[in-house]
């Protein structure tokens, strides 16, 4: 039945065919995995670029590593239904989980040394989750994920020309640098606005689509403070302050405002603010009711991935949420695996 004994030319040819199929498949796999393209911007390279000189913060978020968790509610006023059919905009109260944080990869950074403050948020409505991570500057520092990577590399270099070269190649960074120099500092997470910056598409009940960005605007009056004055209050002042503020004065509030793009507004570039005068809709209020433990609390194992969206909200042509999702996933994988480097205590101070 078999053709044994006749391992002839055709047999050899067949072996070559088999080897070629296997070799080709393995090569295609390696290529797809990026093993043959060291230039590809992978989440690993982004994570490596984020690492401070002292090394990555094991067990911690690879960026916005310092922070403090909270729980509360999102009070939707129903106005958002005009823009999106997402359940979270139906009038009602929905549980919220979030985290105030500092835009640094150092979990022990001194508060007054970190310019960018952020807020991670998860709202659960009708069994669907909406996650986001927002920051206090009104526009992002750069136009593309690649230039964010280049910025991290340039700012990590000792060579003073590195930043100059970077700014020449990425002139949009100038606006951010101006913001960083001139925007007032505050002594409270509660006094900061938090901007989503990225553009998303809202779909209303009739199927109409609206490109939007959103912000959380604080109800607390803003009291500017100098950076030096803030530094004097101590390295962890912001955490202590928010704990004390919520304990003494009760829940803290932010109004969520969505801004609707006019046709032609730049949706793909979060470094470009939209012109004044765009339609805005106040869709609800974030109420921070309780400060939770950071180390042992409910935010620790949450990835505030901005692509986790309810039906009625979807991604736009903005390339950032996709890039962030990929990098946040990697950051999560790493920090979860390194949990023993940042052990839970069961008794940590909030």
């Amino acid at each position: 039945m078999n053709n044994s004994g006749n391992m002839s030319r055709s047999g050899l040819g067949s072996l070559v065919v088999i080897a070629a199929v296997l070799g080709g498949a393995a090569a295609a796999f390696a290529y797809t995995a990026g093993w043959l393209s060291p230039g590809r911007l992978t989440p690993e390279r982004m994570i490596a670029a984020l690492a401070p000189p002292g090394g990555a913060p094991l067990g911690h978020r690879r960026n916005h590593a310092k922070g403090i968790c909270f729980t509360g509610v999102f009070e939707a006023n129903g106005n958002g239904r005009a823009l999106s059919r997402a359940k979270v905009f139906e009038r009602g109260n929905y549980p919220a989980l979030g985290r105030f944080n500092l835009g640094t990869a150092d979990p022990n950074a001194v508060d007054a040394t970190v310019r960018v403050r952020g807020l991670g948020l998860q709202i659960t409505a009708g069994g669907e989750e909406w996650r986001m991570a927002m920051i206090n500057p009104p526009f992002f520092a750069v136009s593309t994920p690649q230039s964010f990577h280049d910025l991290l590399i340039a700012s990590g270099k000792k060579d003073p020309d590195a930043m100059k070269t970077f700014i020449q190649a990425n002139p949009e960074f100038a606006a951010f640098a101006t913001w960083a120099k001139t925007a007032p500092w505050t002594a409270s997470y509660a006094e900061e606005p938090y901007h989503g910056l990225n553009s998303f598409i809202f779909t209303d009940a009739e199927g109409g689509e609206h490109a939007v960005r959103w912000s959380l605007l604080p109800a607390a009056p803003v009291v500017p403070i100098s950076q030096t004055e803030l530094e004097k209050r101590g390295p962890d002042f912001l955490e202590q302050e928010i704990v004390e503020r919520v304990r003494a004065s009760g829940p803290q509030r932010w109004t969520m405002v969505t801004t609707v793009a006019d046709p032609g507004d730049p949706t793909a570039d979060p470094s470009k603010a939209w012109p004044e005068g765009r339609r805005t809709v106040q869709v609800g209020t974030l109420v921070v009711q309780q400060i939770e433990q950071e180390r042992d609390g409910p935010c620790r194992d949450i990835n505030f991935d901005p692509t986790v969206l309810p039906r009625g909200i979807r991604l736009s042509d903005d390339p950032f949420p996709a890039a962030r999702s990929s990098v946040y996933r990697k950051s999560y994988d790493l920090r979860a695996a390194e949990a023993s480097d940042y052990p839970r205590t069961g008794t940590a101070k909030p």
Binding site: N2, L22, S325
Partner: protein
């Protein structure tokens, strides 16, 4: 079950090739998506999760059909060790087809990350959040994924060996189209 049959039932053949194409796609999408930050990333993840869960349903059907129809006998002149290797490797392939989607789902559940498939289908979490469980499941999904790929390559090599060199009717037994029997097996 009919041991005398020389071929798998048509539905078994159909599923074999359909799933083979999907699994190979899954392996490539898997390593491709975790190495990119481009705007394709979310769609790749969505396809990976949707197709992965679909494959889990398909493998259940496939196993039921396998129990019902059985498989054709391997050629009688195959050495004993090779038969054993064939049987074990097929068992392992079935194992991977079952375990890989479960690991993928479990890893997301343990991360408290919602699983929402194409069409908005939500899969509720059956595991509590746990960084330990996440790490174990994630590592298993990654390393078993690579092992799965290696085994598929081996399986393809064996299949081609049967088809091109031994020409013993094994390939024909699962060939997608009723190939004409050019090899005149001893009958």
């Amino acid at each position: 079950m009919n041991n005398e049959a020389h071929r798998f039932a048509p539905i078994q053949r159909l599923l074999h090739w359909l799933m083979a194409a999907c699994i190979i796609a899954m392996l490539f999408i898997g390593v491709g998506m975790v190495s990119t930050v481009t705007p394709e990333y979310p769609s790749l993840i969505l396809i990976h999760e949707t197709l992965g869960v679909t494959l889990l349903l398909l493998v259940a059907i496939r196993l039921a059909l396998r129990l019902h129809y059985g498989a054709p006998r391997l050629p009688a002149d195959l050495p004993h060790a090779i038969r054993l290797a064939a049987r074990l490797s097929h068992l392992a392939l079935y194992g991977f087809m079952i375990i890989m989607p479960l690991l993928g789902l479990g890893m997301l559940w343990a991360a408290a990350y919602p699983v929402v498939l194409l069409g908005g289908i939500q899969i509720p979490a059956l595991l509590p959040q746990s960084d330990r469980a996440h790490t174990l499941l994630w590592n298993s999904h990654v390393y078993l994924g690579f092992t799965f790929f290696a085994l598929v390559l081996l399986h393809v090599a064996a299949a081609l060996f049967h088809a091109l060199i031994r020409r013993d009717g094994v390939f024909r037994s699962i060939a997608p189209l009723p190939l004409r029997n050019t090899t005149a097996p001893a009958e």
